[in-house]
């Protein structure tokens, strides 16, 4: 089962996607997944990005598993 990747705000506008799917290889880290996604959606490259896994901020070396819900977004600006 692939992992879902959600985009919000700026990242949704830049990519033209609200959600994509990525295939999950063995030992895929959050950092590696982010790099791969930026490679495929180059508009993201000029922004500083955060990644979450299953609705928690992810550490760079956190491993992504099948069926996980990722999100990629710019620094938050609520309030």
């Amino acid at each position: 089962m692939p992992a879902r990747v959600l985009f919000f705000g700026a990242t949704a506008d830049i990519t033209g996607h609200r959600e994509i799917e990525i295939s999950v290889s063995d030992d895929l880290t959050a950092e590696a997944a982010l790099k791969e996604i930026v490679r495929n959606l180059p508009g993201l490259g000029s922004h500083k990005l955060l990644i979450s896994i299953n609705q928690q901020y992810a550490a760079q070396d956190e491993i992504i598993r099948d069926g996980d819900e990722l999100a990629i977004f710019t620094a938050v600006s609520g309030g």
Partner: protein
């Protein structure tokens, strides 16, 4: 009782504030954050006029992050109840985007906790603000929690 909510409806500040008042408290501090018309660009210093704002959230994660903040606030400050309600969608200038109410036995803790909560919320809760101008629009990018790329 604590609460943390997202809504697309206009916010009523007083009704949020009154929901956090227990009998052992002597003070509630309430932040009324609202949409500002004039914003100074942090890099160029240029002042731009905003016509309206649009807020978007990663809703389930935003609720979880708000819950974490409220828990951490209870650990740091002597407070009794916290209520946070953030508005989403399109906001006209002057409309309230966020209400944070903190009830405490004494006002000092309520002020300190309210300030801490808004500062942390702006850093960690996945909500984004788009400023719409006469000649364009942009998603505001805040301070990074941790930088990954």
């Amino acid at each position: 009782m604590d609460f943390f909510e997202l809504t697309t409806e206009p916010l009523d500040i007083t009704s949020v504030a009154r929901r956090v008042v227990p009998p052992e408290c002597g003070a509630t501090v309430t932040l009324d954050g609202y949409a500002r018309r004039f914003t100074k660009d942090r890099e160029t210093g240029e002042v731009r006029e905003t016509l309206h704002l649009v807020y978007e959230a990663y809703e389930p994660m935003a609720i979880k992050e708000m819950e974490k903040l409220v828990k951490a606030a209870h650990e740091q400050f002597e407070i009794t109840n916290v209520g946070i309600v953030h508005r989403l969608g399109k906001l006209e200038i002057g409309e309230t985007s966020i209400v944070i109410s903190v009830a405490a036995p004494h006002r000092k803790d309520a002020f300190a906790a309210c300030e801490w909560l808004i500062r942390e919320l702006k850093r960690t809760v996945p909500i984004w603000k788009k400023e719409v101008y006469a000649d364009g629009e942009q998603w505001v990018e805040g301070e990074l929690v941790t930088q990954m790329s």
